[in-house]
């Protein structure tokens, strides 16, 4: 059944279909409607979950950690400062190997206060051990939410669904709401193995002291689980395609086959870039597009397989790591660095704090990349007012 809904409500529908059991969240613009709708669903019985009101995002994540430790399917949503406040517990959730799912609506961090989109908030959490999936449209937001629970529970790692403030969160699009039957087929009830959750019949302590003799091994297991997450996402996407016909992968390519310049982008900028690629192809320019859906685990092999064949790589970052550059660009450079004769990587920063990334913005990126030699500076600012 198709419905015209905002991105935030697409999450709410996804969480309902996932039969989440505990929802703990604190409202923050632009995430508010997610939990608003979920609280309605809990109150009118459409979702049989415990909705826990909390006094901060830190408490929200702590609550999810408790619920997930006890074996529940737990969900929360936040944005920007809220995510930053959770930071300590993000590490906890992953190292405790809890399959929590969280939506983060990308929003710039203050000051100055800004409620508009920027990826720096979620990318700043890249080392916390969370799987991160970036979405381009409302349908993907809903589908990713379901797949997120599936991946999280299969590998015992938390998963973060990420998308742009306002460009998706508050934008209404037609979204196919999957049947509960299809959702259940993708996502069976959480499997609880003995000794992995808090069970009053089998009392144990969790997160105990782990001395130097064992700590590395536990981190090794976490890293191994992170790598399995990519395969598990592939399996879930394969099943979801059979059920719904919609296709998802860790990365997607658009007209990359013979492309000499490939642009790497994530989130809603990908839609805009697709239009620009078509337009430039119409003019005979050999350009292509690589969409990064999965950021953690980083799909090195897939990214390298695409980019090693091209002549130049441009990366569009709606984020910045101060003193370094765009975060996607940094990772793409790292991925290519050991590939002999790899193409140069051009790093572009645009659209910070919610500024529009227009077709003109992306065309300028392609033009500069094609025209210029490899820039000395890892950052080329696009649309900066002089």
């Amino acid at each position: 059944m198709k419905k015209v809904i905002m991105g935030n409500h697409a999450v709410s529908y996804g969480v309902r279909l996932a039969r989440a059991e505990v929802i703990a969240a604190y409202p923050i613009t632009p995430q508010t409607q997610i939990v608003e709708e979920l609280s309605e669903m809990c109150s009118d019985g459409r979702l049989k979950a415990k909705f826990v009101k909390v006094e901060s995002e830190h408490s929200a994540m702590a609550c999810c950690i408790g619920a997930a430790s006890a074996g529940a399917r737990a969900f929360t949503a936040t944005s920007s400062q809220g995510l930053a406040l959770m930071h300590e517990l993000l590490h906890w959730a992953s190292a405790a190997r809890l399959p929590i799912v969280m939506t983060n609506v990308n929003r710039a961090l203050g000051p100055g206060w800004n409620i508009w989109t920027e990826q720096t908030d979620s990318l700043a959490q890249r080392d916390t051990g969370w799987v991160q999936l970036y979405c381009e449209d409302n349908q993907e937001v809903l589908d990713s939410t379901l797949m997120a629970f599936r991946v999280a529970e299969a590998v015992r790692l938390p998963v973060m669904i990420v998308y742009d403030a306002f460009f998706l969160s508050h934008t209404y699009e037609p979204v196919d709401i999957p049947s509960q039957e299809d959702a259940d087929a993708l996502l069976p009830p959480r499997k609880l193995e003995k000794g992995t959750f808090m069970d009053i019949e089998d009392p144990r302590t969790f997160s105990n002291m782990t001395p130097p003799d064992y700590f590395m091994e536990m981190r090794f297991k976490l890293e191994r689980a992170m790598r399995r997450a990519k395969d598990e996402f592939g399996r879930a996407a394969g099943e979801w395609k059979k059920l719904t016909g919609r296709d998802y992968a860790a990365i997607e390519t658009y007209r990359c086959g013979d492309a000499e310049t490939v642009l790497v982008a994530a989130s809603t900028a990908v839609s805009t870039a697709r239009v620009v690629v078509d337009s430039l192809r119409g003019k005979g320019r050999k350009v292509g597009l690589l969409k990064m859906r999965m950021f953690r685990p980083f799909p090195y092999r897939e990214v390298v397989d695409v980019l090693r064949r091209t002549r130049k790589v441009a990366v569009l970052d709606r984020n910045i790591s101060f003193g370094s550059g765009g975060i996607f660009a940094t990772e793409i450079k790292a991925a290519l660095s050991n590939v002999p004769g790899h193409p140069p990587v051009y790093g572009y920063i645009a659209g910070l704090g919610g500024r529009d990334i227009t077709p003109g913005t992306i065309e300028e990126i392609f033009d500069r990349t094609d025209r210029n030699g490899v820039p000395d500076d890892p950052i080329t600012w696009i649309g900066l007012k002089p």
């Binding site: 405790a96 190997r97 000794g195 144990r204 302590t205 782990t210 001395p211 003799d213």
Partner: protein, 574 residues
Amino acid sequence: MASEKPLCLKGEKDLPELVVSLGSMLWHRTGSWRYLRPEYREKPAPCGHACPAGNDVEKFLRLASEGDFDGAWRTILAASPLPGVCGRVCFHPCEKACNRGRYDRPMAIQAIERFLADQASVRGLAIEAPPIGSSPDRVAIIGSGPAGLSCAYHLRLAGIKPVVFEAEGALGGVLRHGIPAYRLPKDVLDREIAMLAAIGIEFQTGRRVGKDVPWEAMGEYPAVFAAAGAHRGRRLGIAGEDGGGVLGGLEFLRQVALGLRPDIGKRVCVIGGGNTAIDAARTALRLGAQVTMVYRRSKAEMPAHPEEVEEAEREGVEIRFLLAPAGVAREGDGIVVEFQRMALGDPGADGRRTIVPAGGRNVFIRFDSILVAAGEDADFSFLPPAVRAEKGQVVVDEWGRTSEPRVFAGGDMAMSSRTVAHAIGSGRRAAMAIARALAAGGPAEPATEAAETAEAPPGGVEPVPFEAVNTAYFEHAERCRMPVLSMAERLKGFAEINLGISADAARAELKRCFHCGRCTACDNCLIFCPDMSVRRRPDGKYEIDYDFCKGCGVCGQECPRGVVEMKLDKERRQ
């Protein structure tokens, strides 16, 4: 402090996927961090654990390192009355087991034992034995070798009057008649036997039971310990073996020990690869002979102790391998021995490789005499048939009990590990069993008390492994060297080769000991514990406050000697 000391879970595969206790922690009243628990417990050191005589090696090294040489000597005496002997001839399994051997080189335990015994002798120390009653129990001991002496000594310490029957004219058995003087000077043996005589052990020499004394005479004793050794040389079973010029290796050693000089000529062949063969070869060298040892298998299969083999070769014994004697013929003044060439086959039941004929022509070598050292058998014809024997040995349990209630046996005639230390251990265990049997007035049933004996180490736990030692706390240090007689001096006669270490060398060597498993109250656990959960006990040692211990493992890591060890807390569930 850099260390490779592992905790109790070995690797990634032993660990759970997530950080969770392996069992219930309901018993734990405070906190929930811990799933590893430090365990403070003294444990046996591997040296003493490996000693067949039951010596508490770590303890005597500890007392000696504190300067208490007399206490150290008395600690050895608690297990063995023959430290001067063992300090010279024991094959020191303690040193093989010593954890220090995996760090640099093992402690020179034997040299220290010898030093302690020799200094006790110089200082005129005597064995302290409890007074004996007016009509004590009397126990007959047949044989005055290490097993018989040990049994007599331990019985005497238990207030029993031992009467030792010795077939030869002098005491000591194999120590006197088998082991050459260059390894064990007779005065050292005399000195330790004299100490035993001084505490009231009765010795009767020249009294062979079954000949000079009928077995029936043993009937007046409530218990008999038979330890007559294994003296009958095995025959080769080849043609010409019985003629002149062929002598048993042990018989040869006995004659030399008695001061006889058997005529062996210039070119001597020693057949065999065991310790008797080596002793015979080195003794023959000292009588001026040119000695060739011939062994059926290769060097790796030789039962002789490798150090002895090496010394023999250094002194000039030629060893030829893979030749099996096939016949002896006499030609003129000499003897021609025919040898069949052999090759190594598959490993046999004992793990050593067997031999098979290699083909090719036999080898003929001319000698003046042959010393046959192909093993020795025990002669227990003096024992009544009711004492069961199998495979050339009297059948005994670990307490030396035979199939006859009154009769106990030990030493070479009752065990397959024929070493002095094993013999001493067998005599000691039999003495314990006999003492208990006499006290109970019935057959000995000592097994239930096994925990307190030499055979069960203190605490009844496994000895400390090398991995439990934090070697970061120990500096590398050179092992003391045993001063030896020069090669030229050695071959002039039977002077002792090893000269013993000085007090200074002993003190330096004693500093090398790890004192595995023994708390030295070093305070490391107390100092390093980040949660003040290690407490000092009134006796200066420690206990752990499990209500506050987080199980971080620092105390276990920093214990230099394996007293504090980390264990899985789930073990406490029971």
